[in-house]
Amino acid sequence: MVERKDFATPVFPTWCPGCGNFGIWGALKNALVELDWKPEEVLIVYGIGCSGNGADFLKTYGFHGLHGRTLPVATGAKLSNHELKVVAVAGDGDGYGIGAGHFLHAMRRNLDITYVVMNNEIYGLTTGQASPTSEKKHKTKSTPEGVIENPINPIALAIAAGATFVARGFSGDVKTLTDITVRGIRHKGFSLIDVMSPCVTYNKINTYDWFKQRVYVVDREGHDPKDLHAAFAKAMEWPNLDGKRDRVPTGVIFETDAYPTYEELDPSLRRFGAPVKRQLGVLQNPDELLKEFY
């Protein structure tokens, strides 16, 4: 059995005291322990931002890549060795801003990857500019008179784009977040776990208190995540176009096992198994390749 200390590194976390990311980090470690995944069995791919800095604080096989590009790296790794357990960790600027294109395509692909987005509704590491999830009218360094655009609704986007597991967590509720993370990782297919993670330094609006007043867990109100229409309705509760901000649904919003994963459908993976496991150095018969060129 693995224990929390198996995932410990010598690096002391550099997040601000009180940062929401601590809760997500804890929940992820709890989930790995609960799933009994050993550090060597897991590849975690990180982007750039405060979220990505967590790469130094969690001992597994890790790849700390570029800003916005976690999902393509995770995809390449998963396609080359689909027996590997792959988790991608990003932030809201990282995942929903510069990486938004990859986000949509990764979801329609439905690889068995878990995508944890530490969503603080602000650019933290670049000292407080508006992010794609910043609320309307939020005054930041890049929007001194307030954000004009609508915020991205990652939950609704994910359901529409074909993610087969869509959840929202709150880093102030580590217990629920751990449950969600375990379910997301266990789910076969692409799982989005969008986690509201208060930035105590640069986001003075969406604070712990702000969330505590609004967050509720959908399971406890009898939400059926298998019901697509109900899931959409939950997704549209917040953030929404009419600007109502009285309730923020958390928990598993949507889940389906109706669709096979990409790995199950890929002609090469199906036929030959994981490419990295096949021996290299044995040259294949050239005649087969050259036949069509005579």
């Binding site: 897991v42 750039i48 597994t60 890790g62 570029l66 790296v73 090469s268």
Partner: protein, 583 residues
């Protein structure tokens, strides 16, 4: 009588089957024992415009295209207008006399032969107008006095999957074109005999790269479609079922290279191909491969830029960009194949170098080498080795106790581990990092890590073969080139030799690390030097100057989107050598 050699061009609108027809003509000549070179010119559209397919065949070695045409097949009047000047005196034009009116009196050239063949009518009589090009192939075979059976057998093979009726109709159509010419025309002095020669394969640089990649054990291939390297994607995708290879057409080029890096990081040999536009999007991740020390192979098929430029034409405009792409000073190995055989062998080397030195290796091609077909003898793979570089086994790791992914070693190479090796857990990092892989901004560590990565390139320099010098070492002039100019240069050398002039050719295959020593040595002892490049600013000349402080005597530059004709090189050499006679 022009015996056993021909230069043929087939022209019409896009969508009229020019490419397929041209390839069949190349194939039948290759199968008859000829050396073949072909290339296509086409605009960036699917229907209409003008496409043409050039084929040159010779009993002797052919390296490239040459200017004068013997036979032009014109599906429309535009083809005649565009290519009339390219015909040698006494050449022939095959056209549909019932559709295109050509009057010799009103034609700009009176020294050519007109061969009106009712292409459309004969095709319809044979079973459908779609076979118009097949009629033209039959006519081409008749007028060059070539073996009809080779054409018939090739058609039977190509249409095998479509059934006997399609095969028989096509053979009838070809026969009708053949008979029409034999019955009505005398021929124009070209005779192609069947030649005894070893069996050869006919393929493009793109295909040779694909085959090389599979031979090298490529397990992951990603791409976003872009001319001229999309055919590599098509080739690799078609192999996915036969070989243990995952092929992904990703959402954009940024995803392409990051996916390849993800694949390389977990131990799959990974390749991608693009052109300059896509490569521009990849630059940040190129640096990621350098700093995270992840092996990947990148194919950059150049085309004329900047921006969209001329998508279907050729240029060598990206050399300096590729050498310097990405912020920071990330090491990369850069190589430029000059022909189909280079494409195959260098691709295998690229995979070995990428893993041994744990860095990106970039293969620069261009439209001319990527798309032109050449026939060659089967690749020799006896000596081909797979070298994966340094890895640690579980036993090694047991003995070591702790593992550092970026361990500082004498040669700069840190042995790799792969998941799920228990004691090999590590963090690969785009941030500057310490030996384990944790982010580090320490001044001493930063310097050590930069030095370590640079050291690998110095080590690679020792292994990389020096650039080959073709021709006599005491030649009157030394031509220096890189990439696809190889064919035109070698063809030019042959012709110059026949005219009593001697040129040799230094092919700079590896652009980084740069073979300064050999280039200096050759240039210093050369009587005259000329750098031949398909670009405006002389990018290889600049690189040579930077690395050797030497300046070539002459520069021959071309940047109209077309590859060099050997004749253009010959003319410049004659000027340089002050030889008065003009070819």
């Amino acid at each position: 009588m022009k015996k056993n050699k021909v230069a043929w061009k087939f022209g019409g609108k896009a969508g009229e089957g020019i490419m397929v027809t041209g390839l069949i003509f190349s194939k039948i000549l290759s199968r008859g024992g000829y050396n073949v070179f072909d290339y296509v010119e086409y605009p960036s559209l699917i229907k209409g415009g003008h496409n043409n397919y050039y084929v040159r065949a010779d009993a002797n070695k052919v390296y490239s295209h040459l200017k004068p045409l013997d036979l032009l097949v014109a599906l429309d009047k535009l083809t005649v207008d565009l290519h009339l000047d390219e015909l040698r005196p006494g050449a022939g034009i095959i056209y549909d006399g019932e559709k295109v009116h050509l009057d010799k009196q009103n034609l700009k050239r009176q020294d050519v032969n007109l061969y009106p063949v009712p292409l459309l009518r004969l095709a319809e009589e044979a079973g459908g107008k779609i076979m118009r090009n097949t009629v033209a192939l039959g006519a081409s075979v008749a007028l060059t006095d070539y073996d009809f059976n080779i054409l018939a057998n090739t058609l039977a093979e190509i249409f095998k999957r479509k059934g006997d009726k399609v095969i028989n109709n096509n053979i009838s159509a070809a026969r009708a074109g053949y008979d029409h010419c034999k019955n009505n025309f005398e021929g124009f002095g070209v005779k192609l005999e069947k030649i005894q020669a070893p069996e050869r394969i006919l393929l493009t640089g793109n295909e040779a790269i694909g085959i090389g990649a599979i031979k090298a054990g490529c397990k992951f291939y990603a791409a976003y479609p872009m001319t001229p390297t999309s055919p590599i994607l098509h080739f690799m995708a078609a192999q996915e079922r036969k070989f243990n290879l995952v092929v992904k057409h990703a959402e954009d080029e940024i995803a392409v290279i990051n996916m390849a890096i993800g694949a390389g990081a977990v131990g799959a040999r990974a390749m991608l191909a693009t052109s300059g536009g896509g490569f521009s999007l990849m630059t940040e991740a190129l640096g990621l491969a350098s700093i995270s020390e992840t092996p990947i192979v990148v194919v950059e098929g150049q085309r004329p830029g900047p921006a969209t430029g001329m998508p279907t034409w050729t240029e060598q405009g990206d050399l300096q960009f590729i050498l310097n792409a990405a912020q920071g000073e990330g090491p990369r190995i850069v190589m430029a194949p000059g022909d189909v055989e280079d494409c195959f062998y260098l691709t295998i080397d690229a995979f070995n170098l990428a893993e041994k030195y744990q860095m990106p290796v970039i293969i620069i091609s261009d439209t001319h080498v990527a798309e032109s077909h050449v026939n060659v003898e089967r690749f020799k793979t006896d000596g081909v080795k797979i070298e994966r570089g340094k890895f640690l086994s579980d036993q090694d790791l047991d003995k070591m106790g702790t593992y550092n992914r970026y361990q500082l070693t004498d040669d700069g190479i840190s042995p790799r581990t792969l998941p799920p090796q228990k004691l090999g857990v590590h963090l690969a990092n785009s941030y500057e990092h310490d030996e384990y892989g944790y982010a580090s901004e320490d001044s001493e560590m930063r310097t050590k890590m930069v030095d370590k990565r640079a050291k690998k390139l110095e080590l690679a320099q020792d292994e990389i073969p020096p650039p080959p010098l073709y021709g006599p070492s005491d030649a009157d002039i030394t031509l220096i080139g890189w990439g696809s100019t190889k064919g035109a240069i070698r063809e030019a050398m042959e012709i110059l030799k026949r005219d009593g002039l001697s040129a040799n050719y230094l092919q700079v295959v590896y652009l980084n690390p740069f073979p300064s020593e050999k280039v200096s040595e050759v240039m210093s002892s050369a009587k005259k030097t000329m750098v031949v490049e398909n670009n405006k600013t002389g990018q290889l000349s600049r690189l040579i100057a930077e690395k050797t402080l030497l300046k070539a005597d002459y520069k021959l530059l071309k940047y109209d989107g077309r590859a060099f004709f050997p004749e253009e090189i010959i003319q410049k050499v004659r000027e340089a050598l002050r030889v008065r006679e003009v070819l």
